[in-house]
Amino acid sequence: MNTKTTVLGQTYQFRDLKEVFAKANEDKSGDQLAGIAAADSRERVAAKQVLADLTLADIRNNPMVPAEEDEVSRVIEEGINEKIYNEIKNWSVAELREYILSHQAGDNELKRISRGLSSEMIAATAKLMSNLDLITAASKIKVVTHANTAIGQRGVLASRVQPNHPSDNVQGIKASLYEGLSYGIGDAVIGINPVIDTADSVKDILNMTKDVMTKFDIPTQNCVLAHVSTQMRAIRNGAPADLIFQSLAGSEKGNNAFGIDVALLDEADELMRKEGTSYGPNFWYFETGQGSELSAEAHHGMDQVTMEARCYGLARKYNPFIVNTVVGFIGPEYLYDSRQVIRAGLEDHYMGKMHGLPMGCDVCYTNHMKVDQNDMDNLGILLSSAGVNFVIGVAMADDVMLNYQSTSFHDIAAFREVMGLRPAPDFEKWLEKMGIMENGRLTAKAGDPTIFM
């Protein structure tokens, strides 16, 4: 494996694969915090050059987190289709990138090759792609999933309505839910982050959302994003959950910090098959986001793009209904400014789709980052053009419980209108029935939450 190269007259010798992977990344404050980022653009280009010439076999034969030490590595290893891998193992990363971007590789071809790739190989290609490469490649991949309804079709931009409340007041949650529905938001999921992580409280919210869905015959799915073990308790106590949620990290140690492991996810998966209230076959809602492994000091000296890809490697074991990268959620220590947030959003969406996952994105930022709402407008449009499965809808983008800003109900309506995209088909029919939408446009009634009262 060659880890040496010359750029502009200077020779660079990299220690190992981890160093090449980290330094080949576009600039991120998280990689700097970890002390593994390229020192300057020359070194970055040198790392990219080395990476481009590595073969897929080089990557697989030099595991950065050995499978013996980490169960996420094991899940990724076990998921590789040997037949497909053997066909391409001698390709360089450069060749893989070019194949992915070529006209020869359409939706089917990319889905097939995906099964022969490890998460690290997919991350490697992202490091050699420009923002437009990431958009071009991702836009070729269509991932349709089904729980109560189907989302992910071409020309569809679905949305999660996120009606959070700072004390889990059920009436307050319902108020924001009505507002969101009246803007045509909520076809991916009605999803609430609870402040109070108890089974009873989770059950109350699941019951309320289910009641609203039943009363108005809404074709969507409900979910309460508590810790998975709390949701499991609620479900065992009879709570109606169409989807089950959990945040994922890209290492066993990171997941340990989240209070989960593969055995627990397996158990939850089993429970949903028996007691989940949707038709399936997809029951999971996962969230990820660059930086959480480093935050838990569980990154094994690896960069945050590769760690993020490994989350997708774990997620694909469970055939989720939706996967959401919450891209600017944590803070400036991992993604410093709008440039880094936009880059990360496009990387994550591409890497997730290359894993065959139904990727959505919480286009978001916190108030301690150098980002504002204009940047969210930009990333939202970019991801809409890349074919993102869904985005997050919060009243005026301001989440009053999680304390950050995402995209608003208005924003999603605008993404759809500007990009010529539609809500999920079943949901659009329902919106028409309710008089909220006509021929893909909001009607005069839209935006009045009292139509549900």
Partner: protein
């Protein structure tokens, strides 16, 4: 079981509210009630009358102390199907609903409110906890290795470790191996500490008392992160520790505080071994209620000798 707990909590809360009514009349009124924000780094330019240099910002005249944090609860929906219903919805949540639209975009007023609140929230990150609040509870201050606010934001690892001076102060001034250790920190919002401490702490103390628990010497950490609990745990070796810390500021409120709790915190704890109550502020979990609730959780931790995902609540 859970009902019994709720009942206990309610009882404690009711009593506290009575007491607090008396206390708060004497307590110095904290600055944050008016929304005034002190800057930790450079103070904002004083209002200048004769701004001469080219790109200086327009003169600021601080007539009104600051934007009121209570969102205006008016609606712009022109012909709601059910008018009274709309008021009901608005009064049930601080979320920005009933805002209406022009085409698919928000009205100008709504958009400007959002921008205004964003500006205020950005400022809150740079605030400093008022010394009066710390004095009121005789909290002495130790620092983490954060150095300055910019660095605090970029280096969470430094916010997890106390300075040598801080370690020495804890060794000298704090009771070792207490049953309950209370720690306060600014975290990402000093305003949250200013706004809630005076209600949370007395209520927490009373709650501890009602469970027959004793607590060590409380203190304040400047520039702290949640995991600074581990370093404190290493030095003082408490049975349980609660850290009252400012959350990242939001737009509706920059006053949201969390209580992170841990059974026998030591170096190398993982996040899932901690328990948290978040959104402690007027519009979320009220500070008085939170104080009582924290006491209940700490007593459960001592009972079950566990915290985090292993703790059964």
């Amino acid at each position: 079981m859970e009902q019994q707990l709720d009942f206990l909590v309610d009882k404690v809360v009711a009593e506290l509210q009575k007491k607090l009514g008396e206390v708060s009349e004497q307590a110095p009124s904290p600055k944050t009630e008016t929304g005034l924000i002190q800057l930790r780094s450079e103070p904002k330019a004083e209002p200048v009358a004769n701004a001469t240099a080219a790109p200086t910002p327009a003169p600021v005249v601080n007539e009104q102390p600051a934007p009121s944090k209570e969102p205006e609860r008016t609606t712009h929906v022109p012909n709601p199907k059910y008018k009274e219903g709309l008021d009901e919805l608005l009064s049930s949540t601080p979320a920005r609903i009933g805002v209406w639209r022009t085409g698919v975009r928000p009205l100008t007023k709504t958009m400007l409110e959002l921008r205004r609140d964003h500006a205020a929230a950005v400022d809150a990150v740079y605030g400093e906890v008022s010394q009066a609040v710390l004095d009121q509870f005789s909290l002495f201050t130790v620092e983490t290795q954060y150095d300055n606010t910019e660095n605090y934001l970029k280096r969470p690892d430094m916010g997890r470790i106390l300075t040598e001076e801080g370690v020495r102060m804890l060794q000298e001034r704090c009771q070792k191996k207490p049953q309950v250790q209370i720690v306060v920190s600014d975290g990402l919002s000093a305003a949250a500490v200013d706004a809630n401490l005076k209600d949370v702490l007395p209520s927490l103390m009373d709650s501890l008392k009602s469970y027959g628990l004793t607590c060590g010497t409380p203190f304040f950490i400047k520039g702290g992160r949640v995991a600074s609990m581990d370093h404190v745990g290493e030095i003082l070796e408490p049975e349980v520790l609660v850290l009252l810390i400012g959350e990242r500021p939001g737009l509706v409120t920059a006053h949201s505080m969390s209580a992170y709790m841990c059974y026998r915190p030591r170096k190398g704890m993982v996040e899932s071994e901690r328990t948290v109550i978040s959104n402690i502020h007027r519009q979320g979990t009220s500070p008085v209620e939170a104080g009582a609730h924290i006491g209940t959780i700490l007593s459960k931790m001592l009972e079950q000798k566990a915290s985090g995902v292993k703790l059964v609540l």
